[in-house]
């Protein structure tokens, strides 16, 4: 019998428990569920299609073409694409200048840089003269695990106060494909909360078309009404299905245009006996919840509204599923919240 064939440290390693696999997050992690139907770079392809029909459309970016799907447009129309470098003030000042000459610019960067860093340029150079400047902001809300430097949790709060600006928070690839030509066709400045990469395709299962400025009822329900925007409409639909198993009948109203807000449709849906819940991929301050609350109070409707939104704090870094669960955007958390509200 030999005891010398096994080195002591190897034996120790073999005896140690397996190292648990860590959850990690990429900068631009997809929020699509495993196996979910997706569409690749819907914004880039939609912009190319719109540009084929409108020769005034130009594209520009601040060193984030590949990460905002603008590279699709740049490849299709190299002479209509302008790389502005990592200079967001220049990006949006120049976009305004391009619009001043009659062109229709789509300018992309991350939402944090558009909203926080370049606000003054968008406000005075694009919004005040009401120019057709289209802001395309990647990583809106909590769609990256990179922490507060990249998580645009308050972008809508920042932008809602800007006069003339249209704000669109799309749910999926269908919304983006249909919104892009409408944004190009609308006169003033717009802000699109971009979903990029492999974007879920959800709304094709419903009788739905995107109309700028309109909210749409995706499904009816007698007990609860969800008012949702952005990717949270996808979660709202999933939560509604899950709640059906608890005998809770949930309506879902998708309101992709945050400003100007379709208060008429929303008030008609809210002013019922149903539990009203807003769902947004944004801080509870200054986004969809407060937009709805403002419409409700202004109309004199005495109605409680329950927000599903990100907390008013700087969020953690981490993997997206971890963070969506931690901050209440995950389907299970929505279901639990609704059941708790219903008692």
């Amino acid at each position: 019998m030999s005891t010398t064939t096994e080195a002591p440290d190897t034996a120790a390693a073999a005896a140690a428990p397996a190292k648990p696999k860590l959850k990690t997050s990429a900068m631009i992690a997809s929020f699509a569920d495993p196996g979910q139907k997706t569409s690749s770079a819907p914004f880039g392809h939609a912009l190319v299609k719109a540009a084929q029909e409108n020769d005034k459309i130009v594209g520009l970016t601040a060193d984030l073409g590949k990460y905002t799907d603008m590279h699709i447009f740049a490849k299709a129309f190299p002479e209509r694409f302008f790389q502005m470098g990592m200079a967001e003030q220049l990006l949006f000042g120049a976009a305004a200048g391009l619009a001043e000459t009659g062109l229709v610019p789509f300018a992309s960067t991350y939402s944090v840089f558009a909203a926080r860093r370049a606000y003054d340029f968008l406000c005075l150079d694009a919004a005040e003269p009401n120019l057709n400047v289209n802001i395309v902001g990647g990583l809106p809300g909590l769609t990256t695990g990179y922490g507060p430097s990249h998580q645009a949790t308050e972008d809508m709060a920042i932008f809602r106060g800007m006069p003339n600006l249209t704000i669109v928070d799309p749910c999926d690839s269908i919304d983006i494909e249909q919104a892009v030509p409408q944004l190009a066709a609308s006169d003033g400045p717009t802000y699109l909360r971009l979903l990029r990469g492999n974007v879920p395709t959800v709304l094709d299962e419903y009788d739905y078309t995107f109309e700028l400025g309109k909210a749409k009822v995706l499904r009816g329900g007698n007990d609860v009404v969800f008012i949702s925007s952005g990717l949270m409409t996808m979660r709202a639909l999933q939560a509604a299905k899950a709640l059906a198993a608890h005998n809770v009948d949930v309506a879902v109203v998708h309101t992709p245009t945050i400003k100007p807000f379709d208060a008429e449709t929303i008030l008609a849906e809210i002013n019922t006996d149903r539990l009203a819940v807003t769902l947004e991929n944004h801080s509870v301050v200054g986004g969809l919840f407060e937009t709805v609350a403002s419409a409700v109070v202004t109309a004199g409707v005495g109605k409680r509204v329950v927000p599903v939104a990100l907390p008013d704090q700087f969020l953690d870094a981490g993997a997206l599923p971890t963070l969506h669960d931690r901050y209440g955007l995950a389907v299970d958390r929505i279901v639990a919240k609704v059941l708790a509200e219903l008692g």
Partner: protein, 320 residues
């Protein structure tokens, strides 16, 4: 005449030059011989600068305050660009083929309105409404208020970024119109100005000319005590611009510099900057010698003295 040419050894890619642009009903219609600084050109622009200063004093008096010092300092620059360089149609301020003049420094609007009146775009009699309720001539220049005002300046550091976009857009659409951006030296504090300076060079915007009023004064005091921007010439050169520095109150020097810039102008080429050293209150000794202030105080009984000094100085120079 003092023109310092800081010509880099780098060759300008002068394709598609803008020398042979169609004649417009603008400044050059009288056939001014660009390229030769004649006494006639100097006299014409000096007279225009005198009238701009006179208008500015009148506007300042109605308002009782204002950026009169800056208007007087920049009058020669404004007279040169509007009277000798820009292509425009006074009766059609939105004429598509016009050259664009972008006033970054919104507070210089008082001088710009005077130049617009001199150019026939704004009626002279409207100038007295400057800064009044419902006037088309607000204290800080805004594109939505005033014909001929291309952008809403005022938040400094915006103009050159917009100018980059305009120059790109005009070139892309095949226009040979040029873009001029008026900046101040205080505006060189803004990082966005340098983002735009890089962008203009990167995109080879030979159709873009910046003119910087270096009066060495900003809101909190002298520029070199607020934030040292010098060496300004070297900065622009190192950013790849065709750089000239001139006495911005000497019309002959300004004309020569603008001629040089025009000769450089091209759809694809190097952007041009004309750095203009000026004196706040220029042309009115009472104000030239007053303690320099961003917002110059002028007493009610001093306006007439200012006008008399301006006229005496101009007539003395004209007859000299």
């Amino acid at each position: 005449m003092t023109v310092t040419n800081h010509t880099n050894t780098e060759q300008v890619m002068a394709t598609n030059t803008v020398q042979d642009r169609p004649t417009a009903a603008g400044a050059l219609e009288d056939g001014a011989a660009r390229g030769t600084v004649t006494q006639e050109r100097i006299a014409k622009i000096s007279a225009a600068a005198f009238r701009i200063r006179h208008h500015a004093l009148n506007m300042g008096e109605v308002q009782g305050q204002g950026y009169v010092g800056q208007a007087l300092g920049a009058a020669d620059m404004l007279a040169t660009v509007y009277g000798d360089q820009l292509r425009f149609r006074a009766e059609d301020p939105h004429w598509e083929a016009r050259d664009r003049f972008l006033l970054s420094t919104g507070h210089y609007a008082i001088g710009h309105y005077a130049a617009l009146a001199e150019a026939g775009i704004v009626p002279v009699e409207e100038l007295e409404t400057y800064g009044s309720d419902d006037s088309r001539l607000p204290m800080s220049g805004m594109s939505t208020y005033t014909p001929g005002m291309e952008i809403s300046g005022g938040s400094l550091g915006h103009g050159l970024t917009i100018a980059v976009g305009m120059a790109l857009g005009l070139r892309y659409q095949g226009s040979n119109a040029r873009v001029f951006n008026f900046l101040s030296d205080g505006e060189l504090d803004e990082g966005s100005t340098w983002e735009a300076a890089m962008g203009a060079h990167h995109h080879q915007l030979g159709n873009l000319t910046a003119m910087v009023d270096i009066n060495a004064l900003q809101a909190d005091g002298k520029t070199d005590t607020v934030l040292r921007t010098e060496p300004v010439t070297e900065k622009w050169e190192s950013f790849g611009w065709y750089t000239q520095r001139v006495d911005g109150n000497e019309v002959g020097a300004l004309l020569a510099a603008f001629d040089n810039a025009a000769a450089q102008a091209a759809a694809v080429g190097r952007p041009s900057v004309i750095l203009c050293d000026t004196k706040v209150g220029r042309g009115v000794p009472l104000l030239e010698n007053r303690e320099k202030a961003h917002f110059m105080r002028i007493e009610e009984d001093e306006w007439q003295t200012c006008r008399e000094q301006l006229t005496a100085g101009y007539e003395g120079k004209a007859s000299a």
